[in-house]
Amino acid sequence: MSTINFDSIQIGDSLPPLTLPPVDRTMLALFAGASGDHNAIHIDTDYARRARVPDVFAHGMLSMAWLGRLLTSWVEQRQLRAFGVRFVGITQLGHVVTCTGKVTEKFEADGERRVRLEIQTVNQYGEPRVLGDAVIAL
């Protein structure tokens, strides 16, 4: 699958972006069941209002899973060495999330050639929601 190699990669190169369908309640219900995160704040509007938020909102880990798809559609998962994020804003119902990544560093560690990627999700307003980085062996 991967034709990406260390020598041809340049710092600043971008990964093919991944844009998801607008976040809806079905998506959150399915992700709650599949992910095992049954926190009612993501699936029950009545509960959300009692917790003083206007409505249910997306699990942070749903966005991280989408970032995982960004990475594993670029290289095979066995090349993934590290993957970390900060959740900097809530992804709300109706948000259209786009995942992007770019190469920020080329280096060697543990006898392998690796690249570091800066990754993020933004909504349709261009607001960052999840920021992070990943390390991939090439």
Binding site: L20, G33, A34, S35, A51, R69, Q77, A82, F87
Partner: protein, 145 residues
């Protein structure tokens, strides 16, 4: 609500969990996965995998399999007041459907910001497989408001 810093270093009950293939297919559907390696055994085998691989974030899902969440209440976590602040994974080897994975977690740190308006609970987890091989390390930061 304050979290007591005396819980720093607390070890959580060790447990084992397995990702079944049907659950991985359900997860793939839930995240809109299009790469058949994650939901079609034949494609996984063609890619050189012995079974469906656990996708990069799925080990976090297996942390919900912990036998008791009493520790959360014990240290003062209120589920309606928490947000996931950070999550990271360091990978040592792949894990697959059917692997028996062992989770060893500890509370690595507890700290507050804004004079106690926000509390941060850091949990670190070491995951090993049925052969005792190191699969991954997880680090999660939960924020309580």
């Amino acid at each position: 609500m304050a979290i007591d810093k005396q819980h720093i270093g607390m070890k959580l009950p060790v447990y084992s969990a397995t990702a079944d293939a049907w659950r991985l297919r359900f997860f793939a559907k839930a995240i809109g996965e299009t790469n058949p390696v994650y939901f079609d055994e034949a494609a996984a085998h063609d890619a050189g995998y012995p079974a469906l691989p656990l996708p990069p974030t799925f080990l976090f899902s297996l942390e919900f399999e912990q036998p008791s969440t009493a520790w959360r209440e014990a240290i003062g976590i209120v589920s309606s007041r928490i947000l996931h602040g950070e999550q990271s994974f360091t990978y040592h080897r792949m894990a697959y459907a059917g692997d028996v994975l062992r989770f060893e977690s500890r509370i690595a740190d507890i700290y507050d910001k804004k004079n106690g308006a926000l509390w941060f609970i850091v949990r670190e987890t070491r995951v090993t497989n049925q052969r005792g091989e190191h699969v991954a390390d997880l680090r999660s930061v939960v924020v309580q408001r």
